[in-house]
Symmetry: C2
Subunit: 442 residues, 2 copies
């Protein structure tokens, strides 16, 4: 966290602390002015956050001049201490769950692991205070690939508690990106009639890296929670490669679409809800929200049935994968079918056996875009006869979450109806032509 | 196939046969001139193919005038009879496997099923003869969702036999779209050093529907087979919604990305190989092929080991899915991981047990775009220690095919090396920024 002792001594001598605005001149004449950021152990660089939000690292051995420009704002507070409220500023609650946004590189192993508390994170991004009073709380510390349905329940419970607090304008959930769509969709279903913005935010690069997207995303998410009218579960991530804007996506229509890029998240079969311009604080609506802010009391239905199989159809797919559901007592299966939702025809008998045992079998499309339709081809019709339920344009991730939720909250005979009833924008009758965009230009 | 007896009689009276150019005037004054197309039973419409490639249906009861403009070209021949070769025209072999491109609606059940032979199909698209002499053969009749690895072997064998014929300029394979990427990738691996264009083509709408994409795609594929220099396994499908151009994609870098649109196929993490302009016959290169035409002899290695599991990681994914591989004697597993290729950490033990039993465990990313990297996060490092093999930017579909092929053609100890060795463009060291495009515009 702190700088190596020799550099620390030099900083201390000049009365400079982390958070102060400093000016650095490098041996080649480069001048950098900005906020001195904390560093993890082992770094030979100091990190300065520029006004445009970028972090710059400067090799300690190349520093020619170093001077204090201004002491930091006196917003630092002890861990756990609630911030003083400032008149006119909305209160945003930031819940930390772990993930890259709260990670820094472990310089011993070289790997990234969750380390930074949400409070430290908020402290690292003083710009948040331009838009809101921020109250931070770490509710768990999990890389998102390790999130489980049981943890979704806990996240939903914590978010719900904040939504009931009248003074809270909106909630930000810092979360790993790998399974963010799952958790954000889980919250969309688990809190019925969300009454304020619930904004999931993450980072593709850890927050101590100069190229980190954590700062911009966190500012964007906080603005959305404080100022936007959208009373839904939202995902807020980089709009493009550079640090320009943050896109708000409906949780149930989002996919992590690139393993590493900062602009990895995309709205699928849908337009984004809004753009947020973090350097001006503007929220630019892009499509109609399901709900806008209101003063009703949202209801918590946060149970999830984890015994659901998610399978992907492929040539040669063995019936064993389907029979596993029956053999091991699973309650439901989501099959990501080919094209309009097909499986190889030799699997139809297995589907029939499952549905006759009371196991729900839902079908999505692995094409990502478009919708299922089991009425067009002979194979699809046989799947329908065997009791499979086509789930339209519901994304496979979201269908899995919704099924786990439906199985835990409704009697078995109601589950099929719940699954094909649009609740949170996850199932749409109509798609617009512009919702599909080609990877190439003519 | 033929028109209802009353209409047929009226056509016969005027000496009009299917394939002739006719002029129709409708009761509202609409005038349509084009080729009279065959119709499946039950239709109350006649179908006229316009010069721009579109089919137009006209209600028989609304026809005011009907006249013969020109008799069809005398290219009709008996089934099975080889066409006469015309000097200066390259020979293209069309292999039919079934699927929508060879389908028409069954008006009794309303469903689409494979019905039309490839020969009839070629006869329906006389424009093919502007670019090539065409020889057609139906090698199977399968909706692509029902294709199996064993059928890939047969397709590869048939394609290989044609590639050995000196007089054949290129091969077109008519195939269903659902699993076209699998079969086309299987051919890419099963025929080592393909020496001529092998062009897979399909249709998203059956060829007796006015909105069918079969005509344009088939013309584009035939032009590619006859004229293009690309000696690879290629997928040729609509470039955009309207009937303007056909895109040639490298089989191993393609995904069916929409369940219903005509422009459903996209190159992933790559630019298309070329555009084909069917109304002029031009082939416009867009990226560098792996090989261009040559006179070497391609080698057939068309065995596939079907005992491979394809799994998709998700929160709550049960270890049972992995243990199934060991319990049921599978030889390999492809896991489509979250983000850079992660699975929930509690699955690491199961991966270890599999790899220690000699089962290959390969990892791809379910983000579609980007590459795997198991060195960044703690979970990934544990997966590496457990023996998982990250497969870079290889698409999950292609990784599954490659593993089935590698397991059948190489000794087990060589499989891991084969899997991480780029053979057919399926694994790339570098990706270009422009290969990723957002679903929204700023």
């Amino acid at each position: 966290m702190s700088y190596p002792s020799d550099l620390a001594a030099s900083l201390l001598q000049k009365g400079i602390e982390v958070g102060d605005v400093i000016k650095v001149v490098r041996d080649d004449g480069l001048v950098v002015e900005g906020i001195l950021m904390p560093r993890p152990k082992g770094g030979r660089y100091i990190v300065v956050k520029l006004k445009n939000g970028y972090n710059v690292g400067i090799d300690v051995r190349r520093i020619k001049e170093l001077e204090l420009v201004a002491k930091r704002k006196p917003q630092r507070r002890e861990k756990g201490e609630k911030p003083p409220r400032r008149p006119g500023y909305p209160l945003v609650k930031v819940l930390g769950t772990g993930g890259t946004i709260a990670s820094r590189i472990d310089y011993e192993t070289g790997a990234v692991k969750p380390a930074m508390s949400t409070e430290e994170l908020v402290e690292e991004v003083p710009e948040l205070l331009d838009y809101a009073d921020v109250e931070a709380e770490q509710i768990m510390d999990v890389l998102s690939e390790n999130m489980t349905p049981e943890m979704w329940s806990r996240v939903a419970e914590a978010v719900h508690a904040e939504l009931l607090r009248e003074e809270v304008a909106g909630v930000v959930v810092a979360h790993g990106t790998d399974t963010m769509v799952y958790t954000a969709s889980a919250v969309a279903f688990a809190i019925r009639e969300i009454n304020k913005p619930v904004v999931f935010v993450g980072a593709q690069r850890s927050s101590d890296r100069p190229s980190s997207d954590a700062t911009l995303n966190l500012i964007g998410a906080t603005i959305a929670a404080a100022r936007s009218d959208i009373a839904e579960s939202i995902i807020a991530m980089h709009g493009e490669s550079s640090d320009t804007f943050v896109v708000l996506h409906r949780a149930t229509r989002t996919k992590k679409f690139h393993s590493t890029r900062r602009d990895a998240f995309q709205s699928i079969c849908a337009q984004p809800l809004a753009y947020v311009w973090p350097w001006t604080g503007d929220v630019e609506p892009k499509s109609r929200p399901l709900r806008t802010r209101g003063d009703w009391t949202p209801k918590l239905m946060n149970s999830f049935e984890p015994r659901v199989l998610q399978l992907r159809a492929y040539p040669g797919m063995p019936p064993d994968l389907l029979y596993l559901a029956k053999d091991k007592g699973f309650k439901g299966v989501i099959i990501e079918g080919t094209g309009m939702g097909h499986v190889p025809e030799y699997l139809v008998d297995a589907i029939k056996e499952l549905t006759e045992s009371g196991i729900f079998v839902g079908v999505t499309t692995q094409c990502v875009h478009g919708t299922t339709n089991l009425n067009v081809y002979a194979t699809g019709r046989k799947m329908l006869e065997a009791g499979a339920t086509p789930l339209g344009d519901m994304l496979t991730e979201v269908a899995t979450v919704k099924l786990m939720w439906a199985l835990a909250n409704y009697p078995p005979e109601e589950v099929p109806k719940v699954m094909v009833t649009p609740l949170e924008g996850e199932l749409r009758e109509r798609r617009l032509l512009r919702d599909y965009r080609l990877s190439y230009r003519r």
